[in-house]
C-alpha cells in the first residue's frame, strides 16, 4: 500500500502541471505574458549562446580534447600560432564551424572525444601516435566534405594576390581553382605533424 502511494501522487502532480499549462490564463494579461515570454526568451537564448562561446576557446578545448601535450605543442611552432602579421587562428577557428547549425552538429559529434578522454584512450604520447593516422584522416575527410569551410573563413582565392606569391604557389593555386580543389587537398599537416603513412591516406581520401 505504501509503495503505491507516491506513484499515485506523482501521476496527480503531472496531471496538475499539465492542467496549468493547458488552461488559458485568467489572471495575467496577454500583453504581460507575451512581454515576459519575450524577455525570458532573449535571456535564455543569449545565455545559451554565451555559454556556448565560452566553450569555444583554446584553453577550454585543450582541457578535455586530449591534445595539450601532443598536437597543441606542435601547433605552437606553426604559422597559424605565430606570424609576422600577428593574426592567430586558435583551435575553434579551424575545427569548429562558424554557422550555428553546423557548429552545434560538430559540438555534439566532438563530445565523443570527452568519453575517450575519461576512458584515457589517447592520454599518452605513444597511444596518441598509434591513433594519429586515424584521427588525422577523420579531420581531412571532414574538411574535404565541407570544402574546407573553416579555412575559407579567412582564406579566399578571390582575395589572394598571386603576384606576391612564390612562383610554385602561384602556379598551383591557378590549377587548383580550375580543378575546383579544396584547401585540404594539398595543405595537410600545416598546423600539426603529419602521421606516418600520410601520403597513402591522402590517396585513399582523394580517390573517394
Amino acid at each position: 500500500m505504501n509503495d503505491q502511494a507516491p506513484d499515485e501522487n506523482k501521476g496527480k502532480l503531472i496531471q496538475r502541471v499539465w492542467g496549468i499549462i493547458r488552461k488559458p490564463s485568467a489572471r495575467y494579461a496577454l500583453g504581460t505574458l507575451l512581454t515576459v515570454g519575450f524577455v525570458a526568451g532573449v535571456v535564455f537564448w543569449g545565455s545559451f549562446n554565451w555559454s556556448l562561446e565560452l566553450t569555444n576557446n583554446e584553453e577550454f578545448c585543450i582541457t578535455c580534447h586530449e591534445m595539450k601535450d601532443n598536437v597543441y605543442q606542435e601547433y605552437k611552432q606553426t604559422i597559424h600560432y605565430s606570424n609576422r602579421s600577428g593574426v592567430r587562428a586558435t583551435c575553434p577557428d579551424c575545427h569548429v564551424p562558424k554557422t550555428w547549425v553546423h557548429k552545434i552538429a560538430r559540438k555534439i559529434q566532438a563530445s565523443n572525444e570527452l568519453y575517450h578522454h575519461f576512458l584515457g584512450t589517447i592520454d599518452t604520447r605513444e597511444k596518441y601516435e598509434a591513433k594519429r593516422l586515424k584521427l588525422a584522416k577523420n579531420e581531412w575527410r571532414r574538411m574535404k566534405e565541407t570544402d574546407s569551410r573553416e579555412c575559407r573563413n579567412c582564406h579566399n582565392f578571390d582575395y589572394m594576390d598571386f603576384t606576391v606569391q612564390e612562383k610554385r604557389s602561384r602556379k598551383r593555386h591557378a590549377v587548383a581553382i580550375e580543378k575546383g580543389s579544396t584547401c585540404i587537398d594539398c595543405h595537410k599537416g600545416i598546423a600539426h605533424e603529419l602521421p606516418k603513412g600520410a601520403f597513402e591516406a591522402e590517396k585513399e581520401i582523394s580517390a573517394k
Binding site: R168, I190, E193
Partner: protein, 150 residues
C-alpha cells in the same frame, strides 16, 4: 631703415633658435657624448633575411655537388614518420607533380639492394641538399667552381 630692422630681427631670431636647439646642450644639463645620444636600450634592426632564389636553378660548382633546392623548405617536415620532400620528388609523385625525381642512387641501400622507396640512408635530404640563396659570402674568398678553374 625699415628693411634693415627686419633683417636684424630675423638674424636675432635665428641665433635664438640655434642656441635653443637640443643639439647644443644636453637636455638634463650634463656633458654630451661625442656619439650624440645613443639609444642603447632599443633593439637594433634585425639582420636581413636571406631570400631563396626561386626563379631559376643554380648550376653545380663541381661534378658531385648535391643539387641545390630552388624553393623554400622550412615548413616541410622530415622526421621519423614522414618526409614531405618525397611527396613531390619520389617516384611516382615526381611524374604527377612535374618535379625533378631524386637520383636513382638514392633507391639503393648500403648493401647494394635496389629499393622501391628512398633508402633510409638517404632519408634526411637536408644533410646534403640546401636551399639556394643569393647572398654575400660569410667570409671573403676567391672560390671558383671546378668548371671555372679549368
Amino acid at each position: 631703415m625699415k628693411t634693415i630692422n627686419y633683417g636684424m630681427i630675423l638674424g636675432l631670431a635665428l641665433v635664438f633658435v640655434a642656441l635653443g636647439s637640443p643639439g647644443a646642450f644636453s637636455q638634463d644639463g650634463g656633458v654630451q657624448s661625442l656619439r650624440g645620444t645613443p639609444q642603447i636600450s632599443e633593439p637594433g634592426p634585425s639582420p636581413e633575411i636571406k631570400k631563396q632564389a626561386t626563379n631559376q636553378r643554380f648550376g653545380r660548382a663541381y661534378r658531385q655537388q648535391p643539387p641545390l633546392i630552388p624553393h623554400k623548405i622550412e615548413k616541410y617536415q622530415i622526421n621519423l614518420k614522414v618526409n614531405q620532400c618525397m611527396r613531390c620528388h619520389d617516384w611516382p609523385y615526381s611524374v604527377e607533380e612535374g618535379a625533378p625525381k631524386i637520383s636513382e642512387t638514392h633507391y639503393i641501400d648500403r648493401s647494394g639492394v635496389a629499393l622501391d622507396k628512398v633508402a633510409k640512408t638517404r632519408w634526411f635530404c637536408t644533410q646534403c641538399h640546401v636551399p639556394q640563396v643569393y647572398t654575400r659570402p660569410l667570409v671573403p674568398n676567391r672560390f671558383k667552381s671546378a668548371f671555372e678553374t679549368k
